[in-house]
């Protein structure tokens, strides 16, 4: 019995200590964007938010060259608007307001409300009120698990343990900071167009109709209203998609119209880009939804030009483009 008690006491103590170490490790790893935001060390005149289609498809350095605005890429894998809103809260709590806030939106994100939300992003900051709120809503089990030392890390150890270890390593070498990212930008490692789209098309030769989740649409509305209430200037845009893929999406025009109407109602300009025809050429993509490095460079430069020409004071946003 004595041994058992000793074992349980050691387990509890070690688990608590390990959890603190991992929390600290993650807080030092700015590749983990919520850590970077919570550090209060970020400054950006242009702040980009959105899914992996921002994280990997918007190079802040190129955008800075084109616009002269100090830029940070706050894109996060997963297309949940709740991610973006919680991160925006965190940004505004710890860092100065950006001059312009860019949000990448697409009809792609109006479906499957339960997908595209990754709880592991918030594990080490569950006590932040807006993170706690969003996790309580999306994944209450994680909140319950967080009361048992280390269990929250065990649930997501695949991602979080290496990231925390990377953070500790980074802290030991140079202090907190980014390792792989550059101002939040995570360059795509893929170059060649893979076969996922062709497989998808083979399964859907007649195209597909995507459902519209009004909850998601409302989420965008909440995001715009919060940003407006904070006095932020918001610009929405849609990054390029492969045209072959767009042609399969049979109700894209209707979904795009709903986004347009939402943006108009909230007074947010919605840029429809891709005038250089990136979407026509597979060479710029590694799958139907993601540009490769070459495509990203061209697209970021194009977005910068659009911003200068149209959105900056005196300019007007482009008119909604009809769906392809």
């Amino acid at each position: 019995m004595k041994n058992l008690l000793l074992f349980l006491a050691s387990l509890l103590g070690l688990a608590w200590l390990t959890e603190r170490v991992l929390d600290f490790g993650l807080s030092q790893n700015f590749d983990f964007k919520s850590s970077a935001v919570a550090s209060g060390k970020l400054r950006a005149e242009a702040l980009f938010q959105g899914s992996s289609r921002v994280a990997m498809m918007l190079d802040p350095q190129i955008f800075e060259q084109k616009t002269g605005l100090d830029t940070y890429n706050l894109g996060l894998n997963g297309n949940s608007i709740e991610h973006q809103l919680a991160l925006l809260h965190l940004w505004l709590q710890h860092n100065p307001k950006p001059k312009v806030l860019f949000l990448e939106i697409s009809p792609e994100y109006l479906q499957q409300s339960n997908l595209g939300f990754y709880s592991f992003y918030f594990v080490h900051q569950l006590r932040e009120p807006f993170f706690e709120r969003v996790v309580r809503q999306k994944n209450p089990e994680l909140l319950r698990a967080s009361y048992v030392p280390l269990l929250k890390y065990a649930l997501y150890n695949h991602t979080l343990v290496p990231e925390a270890l990377a953070g500790l390593g980074r802290w030991l070498r140079r202090g907190a900071g980014e390792d792989d990212l550059k101002k939040g930008f995570s360059p795509s490692p893929f170059v060649h167009f893979d076969d996922t789209f062709d497989r998808f098309r083979a399964l859907n030769p007649g195209g597909f109709v995507a459902e519209t989740d009004t909850g998601k649409l409302n989420g965008f509305g909440r995001y715009f209203r919060y940003a407006n209430a904070q006095g932020l200037r918001v610009v929405a845009y849609e990054a390029p998609l492969l045209n072959e893929y767009l042609r399969l999406h049979r109700n894209r025009a209707a979904q795009l119209a709903r986004l347009d109407s939402l943006c108009r109602a909230e007074g947010v300009p919605f840029l429809h880009l891709d005038t250089t025809g990136l979407g026509r050429d597979r060479r710029y993509f590694y799958n139907a939804n993601h540009l490769n490095a070459q495509g990203t460079d061209r697209f970021t430069a194009e977005l910068g030009r659009h911003f200068n020409a149209i959105v900056r004071p005196g300019g007007k946003p482009t008119q909604p483009r009809s769906a392809l």
């Binding site: 004595k2 041994n3 000793l6 074992f7 006491a9 050691s10 387990l11 103590g13 070690l14 688990a15 390990t18 280390l150 269990l151 890390y153 065990a154 649930l155 150890n157 695949h158 991602t159 343990v161 290496p162 990231e163 270890l165 990377a166 390593g169 490692p189 893929f190 893979d194 076969d195």
Partner: protein, 511 residues
């Protein structure tokens, strides 16, 4: 029930506590009930199949013991045919019917081919419907819901009647204990395939709780789960992309070779991990199961490999197939033939597919080659370390190559992978393909995980070893403090590095 599930975390301590709380005369009933529950966690109705084989073999054992001469032999044959019949029906009917149908089509008899397929499909689906499997329309759809571990417990049951027939084992009078011999939950679904002489008597013996033995058992369980959940399940992320979708354009020779080697490690950790948990689980309760793996990848030739890999199966084939066929006491040609038969049957035991048959055939070729070389006396390596090292590398290479056929979904896939291995497209292309492969695993920052888990593993293992080795020299209070702290650290390590979210089955469950 899976060993790597939360259910087992509740199930096992409950069984252990009950086992030692109950009086000896009721333990068999509790263990049998627990084993039934364990098995029924997969597909409950299939326990009826197990029950049928248990009833047949129980009575066969009693009757064989009392019979003499031809009648004794006839009873054994009836028992074996019953066991193999069930195995053949559930596991091989589809394979044989489809191949016969293909043969009939090839000789321009499409009508009988279609008839044979339709008829056997109908019988098969009808029987599965009796077991509540209504969603299946053909045997090709049924692979994932077939009785789990069927080949394991069938072979264990057969070893009982054969040993009774040979006079090496007295027939078990107690029906419940015989049923427990077949169904003992630690080794029910993936072995080790036990022999009655080793296990049956243990169920009659009164077991008392022994803390040292229980601790040792828990240590086996820990390392078994470690091999499975920390190593094998992680490695599967590297193996699956290549083997589930063989595509020379995506994964070149280098990536395919790497995935093949990784699979060799994965399957070892997966299967030996299961055996370790089985041995440890039984050990905590005071039962001793046979060793199933003995560092097989350190074997210096393929024959040594087979004396160390899945020992309970290879010795089963040796005792109940190779020796009855004549063993080593026959002419050289016949001996070679016997050896080939054993490996082909071993391949077929693993699964009803050409891939397994080719895997068995490859091992037959490797083994025959080794025997022939040795007997010819042409190749003699000196007894030096480098010769052993060379032997290990060659053996590992051959075994890994054969695993391609074992893991591939079809013969076509396996041949595509083999062709890819033989097509070198230059360093830069191959390197790109290797990079693409590692990226596709979705494993973020693998060097950190590898590095830290490797160091952690080494420290924990070393700590465990040192405490065990120096226990007599360590002062009592220090030892008392060190042990719990070390075990707590082992649990923490496990929580940080095991795969919890996939609930992956053990590879050998499908057999």
């Amino acid at each position: 029930m899976l060993f790597n599930s939360l259910n087992f975390l509740v199930f096992f301590p409950t069984v252990v506590v009950l086992h030692f709380l109950l009086p000896h005369r009721w333990r068999w009933a509790m263990l049998l009930g627990a084993s039934c529950y364990f098995y029924m966690a997969f597909v409950p109705a299939y326990i009826l199949i197990l029950f049928a084989t248990i009833v047949i073999d129980y009575f066969a054992g009693l009757w064989i013991e009392n019979a003499q001469g031809v009648r004794r032999k006839r009873l054994l044959i009836i028992s074996l045919v019953s066991n193999l019949g069930i195995l053949a029906f559930f596991k091989y009917l589809g394979f044989f019917t489809e191949n016969i149908a293909d043969l009939l089509k090839a000789i321009d008899l499409p009508y009988p081919a279609a008839l044979a397929t339709a008829a056997s499909n109908k019988v098969f689906v009808g029987v599965l419907t009796l077991f509540g499997q209504n969603s299946v329309s053909s045997y090709t759809e049924a692979m994932s819901i077939l009785p789990i571990g069927l080949s394991f417990h069938t072979f264990q049951a057969m070893s009982y009647t054969i040993e009774v027939y040979r006079g090496n084992q007295r027939a078990e009078r107690h029906f419940g204990i015989y049923a427990l011999y077949v169904m003992f939950f630690p080794q029910l679904v993936a072995g080790p395939i036990e022999r009655p002489q080793n296990v049956l008597h243990q169920f009659h013996e009164k077991k008392t709780f022994n803390a040292t033995r229980a601790l040792d058992g828990l240590r086996w369980i820990y390392w078994g789960l470690f091999k499975k959940m920390v190593i094998a399940d992680r490695l599967s992320q590297f193996v699956d992309p290549v083997f589930n979708d063989p595509n020379p354009e995506k994964y070149g020779a280098l990536a395919t070779a790497a995935a093949t080697v990784v699979f060799a490690i994965q399957i070892y950790c997966d299967f030996s991990g299961y055996s370790d948990v089985a041995i440890g689980t039984a050990k905590v309760m005071g039962y001793k199961l046979m060793e199933n793996f003995r560092r097989p990848y350190l074997a210096t030739n393929i024959q040594v490999f087979w004396s160390r890999w899945h020992i309970s199966l290879s010795t089963w084939f040796r005792d109940y197939l190779y020796i009855p066929l004549g063993g080593n006491r026959v002419s050289r040609g016949r001996r070679y033939f016997n050896l080939a038969v054993v490996f082909l049957v071993s391949g077929l035991w693993h699964g009803a597919a050409w891939t397994y048959l080719v895997w068995g055939a490859l091992h037959a070729v490797f083994n025959l080659g080794t025997v022939a070389l040795r007997e010819s006396g042409r190749v003699r390596l000196p007894e030096r370390w480098w010769a052993d090292a060379l032997g290990m590398v060659v053996t590992f290479g051959l075994v890994s190559f054969a695993w391609i056929f074992f893991r591939a979904h079809s013969l076509h896939d396996a041949l595509t992978l083999v062709r890819t291995l033989g097509t070198w497209r230059g360093w830069s292309v191959e390197w790109n393909s290797l990079e693409y492969w590692t990226l596709r695993t979705g494993d973020p920052k693998p060097p950190y995980r590898m590095l830290f888990s490797g160091i952690g593993l080494l420290l924990l293992g070393l700590g465990d070893y040192l405490i065990e080795k120096k226990r007599d020299r360590l002062p009592g209070p220090t030892l008392r403090m060190l042990r719990p702290a070390l075990y707590a650290a082992m649990v923490i390590f496990f929580l940080l590095f095991a795969v919890f979210d996939s609930g992956k089955q053990f590879i050998y469950f499908q057999f």
